[in-house]
């Protein structure tokens, strides 16, 4: 399923068929299978060889056997990391689609498709993480089809995510149809782009903020420095910064890892600098918005407590600092600095989501939650699966480079 990171060898002319062309990178099945023996694939395979049985164990023996969840701490890292952080980091899909298709910033065209793909896979694997966490995942269709908990924020999230996954998938149809060689279908898919983008931004605004709104229901359980009526705004604004940073990181890694599939004329550096400019402004505003939340709640005194120090680490180290570094890097064209800052920002988003869901949640209760080895490994497995899927798709479909028959894919 995964693909080699080096260019394939000369294809065996006798193995020419649709499967060879589309699935096996032009090789016969056996050649392809042999080509899979790379260090990257070995690592991925190792991770999954442990992780997939663990996943089975969790479903056979129950959540209690596989996780450290408890009656006091019903949510752990599958919610905090896989779902919350995964969704936040997948925000590159809507931020880039809006920048390119709505705001007309053609400069970023080369990274729209990878961003939409990252978005789609990010959401898909976040939902898979959720399915691992749910006690009865087979009931997922219930709130969609016949029993509607209207007053629930979770209900709105469920609907939004289902719709948005569909939107992201449909936004990704043009490269799929180009890969399959179906020009009429591709044209039909391309025409929907603007509508899908607008719909997607709407859905993203709603569920990015609603994931934060979930925690409004826990005023006595979430530490007051993180609890605020403005959590929805915090989550939404930080999702923009998360998406931009993730695109910077992903484009840097992709253009290095997929050199034989990437368009060498993409100005990855220029794009990174431009995105950094945007991210620095967003983080700057986000910092002040959170500051306003502290003022509004009158929480200043809490800053000198241990949790207060940790909050300051998040504010100063993971929000203000990257904002300044992005600004400096963008102004002086320091692409390396920008890339490392983007990675740091990604980490900062994960830290924030974990803070809200697990670290600052139930902060005043003796029974604290620490993830079990199995939970951690299953999370890593899901991420590995996501990355492998990304590689599989990028190695076959026109994501990092336009399809030769559709060079003007820039015009849709």
């Amino acid at each position: 399923m995964s693909s080699p990171t080096t260019a394939p060898t000369v294809p065996d002319a006798t193995a020419r068929n649709w499967a060879s062309d589309k699935l096996f990178l032009g090789m016969s099945f056996w050649e392809y299978a042999k080509s899979l023996a790379t260090p990257g694939n070995f690592l991925a395979g190792l991770i999954m060889a442990i992780g997939l049985p663990l996943l089975a164990y969790r479903f056979i023996f129950g959540l209690g056997a596989a996780t450290n969840l408890s009656q006091t701490n019903p949510w752990g890292i599958w919610i905090g990391f896989d779902l919350l952080s995964g969704v936040a980091l997948a925000a590159g899909g809507y931020t880039l689609a809006t920048s390119v298709y709505i705001f007309g910033l053609e400069k970023y065209h080369a990274v729209v498709r990878p961003a939409v793909l990252t978005g789609f896979l990010g959401y898909l694997f976040a939902v898979l993480g959720l399915a691992a966490d749910l006690g009865r995942p087979w009931n997922l269709p219930v709130p969609i089809v016949y029993s509607f908990g209207g007053p629930s924020v979770m209900f709105e999230i469920a609907w939004c995510v289902v719709l948005y996954l569909t939107v992201l998938f449909m936004e990704f149809l043009p490269p799929i149809f180009e890969w399959l060689g179906w020009p009429k279908a591709r044209l039909w898919a391309v025409r929907m782009t603007i509508g899908l983008t607008v719909f997607g931004v709407m859905l993203s605004t709603l569920h990015q903020s609603s994931l934060g709104a979930l925690f409004l229901m826990a005023p006595t359980k979430l530490h007051p420095l993180w609890y605020s009526p403005f959590i929805p705004a915090y989550f939404f604004i930080s999702s923009i910064a998360a998406g931009l940073s993730m695109v910077i990181v992903e484009s840097a890694l992709s253009h290095r890892a997929f050199q034989h599939r990437a368009d060498h004329h993409t100005d990855v550096d220029g794009i990174a600098l431009g995105l950094a400019r945007g991210a620095s402004i967003v983080l700057f505003a986000y910092f002040f918005v959170k500051l306003q939340g502290i003022a509004d709640g009158g929480r200043w005194a809490l800053l000198s407590t241990p949790y207060g120090y940790w909050f300051l680490v998040e504010m100063l180290g993971f929000i203000l600092l990257p904002s300044m570094l992005f600004a400096y890097g963008a102004r002086h064209s320091h692409v390396r600095l920008v890339r490392w800052t983007a990675a740091w920002t990604v980490l900062g988003i994960v830290v924030n989501r974990l803070n809200v869901s697990v670290i600052a949640m139930n902060w005043n209760v003796p029974d604290r939650y620490i993830p079990s080895f199995m939970e951690v490994w299953i999370s890593i497995t899901l991420v590995t699966l996501g990355v492998s899927t990304f590689r599989w798709i990028v190695n076959r479909m026109p994501v990092l480079k336009a399809h030769p028959e559709y060079p003007e894919s820039s015009s849709h």
């Binding site: 209690g64 298709y101 009865r136 931004v201 605004t205 229901m217």
Partner: protein, 301 residues
């Protein structure tokens, strides 16, 4: 923006109307008067509880649970217990002696339950009679109800491969048959009084404001989280009851009201806003690329 009971049931009612038949019977829209008349509650008078735990035994029997732990051993009061998947109610000794006071804990069956408003599949549902019931066939096991409940009532069957949420049911099926809940029916001292909530409030006030009454003048559950079905009166400081005192008197469903109210606004405002920006940027690009040639074209986008 506070959600009052009326609008809560209206929302619940219309949402219920949109769902299929099985959901309907639980909470079709009703008027406030009928609600008040039918709403049941329990008054827990801790001055009368002797810690016999007959309520625990009756609850376990009715719900076919394996409890209670240490049924005849007073050592059970050595530590404070919580409800769990095999004990829907527990009695804790909260003060050691003079006076020795016991507090029965169970689901509070809030008038506007956080758990029900949090449940995306309406597995937890408030009935007009009072009980917050659990429709286990709808539950996804997301455990958001556990995060939302300020009393930490719902418990999860983590040890099972096919787990459910568990909590006190207020014996809804017994109530439907006209009986009282198992626990209240076996209480020997009258510490538990089951009846119409308004009447119970009157009884409580009578006791509280009687001349020379030892009671603390606060009915816990009258207004907490917007009011609960199970209410407590006591003669020891309220904080000693072991029930959360920081929950406020607003219904928890009001906490997410503003956020959810924004949804239709976003759905309405975002498309014209975004399409406006789109038209503007398209026009600007057209003008920049082709000068005055394509004014006509630009005017049409």
């Amino acid at each position: 923006m506070k959600l009052n009971r009326r609008t809560f049931f209206k929302v619940a009612g219309t949402a219920g109307a949109a769902a299929l038949a099985p959901a309907r019977t639980a909470s079709a829209a009703t008027s406030a008067e009928v609600l008040d008349a039918g709403r049941r509650g329990v008054l827990v008078d801790t001055t009368k509880c002797i810690g016999c735990r007959a309520c625990e035994a009756a609850c376990s029997e009715t719900n076919r649970l394996s409890g209670p732990a240490m049924p005849d051993d007073a050592a059970v009061f050595g530590s404070l217990r919580k409800t769990d998947t095999t004990s829907f109610t527990v009695v804790n000794r909260v003060t050691p002696a003079t006076p020795e006071r016991f507090v029965k804990q169970q689901c509070m069956h809030c008038l506007e339950p956080a758990c029900a408003s949090a449940c995306l599949a309406r597995a937890l549902d408030k009935t007009p009679m009072g009980p917050v019931v659990y429709h286990k066939d709808r539950c996804l096991g997301c455990r958001y109800c556990m995060v939302a409940c300020p009393f930490d009532v719902p418990k999860y069957e983590y040890d099972k491969a096919l787990p459910y949420v568990t909590k006190c049911t207020f014996c809804a099926d017994r109530q439907a048959k006209g009986e009282s809940p198992a626990c209240t029916s076996v209480c020997p001292t009258g510490a538990l009084t089951f009846g119409n909530r308004n009447e119970l409030l009157d009884i409580a006030r009578e006791r509280l404001y009687a001349k020379g009454s030892p009671y603390v003048r606060h009915i816990y559950g009258e207004n907490e989280v917007g009011g609960t079905s199970w209410m407590y009166i006591t003669d020891i400081p309220i904080e000693k009851l072991g029930l959360p005192t920081d929950v406020g008197s607003y219904a928890y469903s009001s906490l997410t009201q503003a956020s959810l109210a924004a949804v239709p606004f976003v759905l309405t405002l975002w498309p014209p806003l975004l399409m406006g920006i789109y038209s503007f940027s398209k026009r600007r690009d057209a003008v920049a690329a082709h000068g005055s040639d394509t004014q006509e074209e630009a005017d049409h986008v």
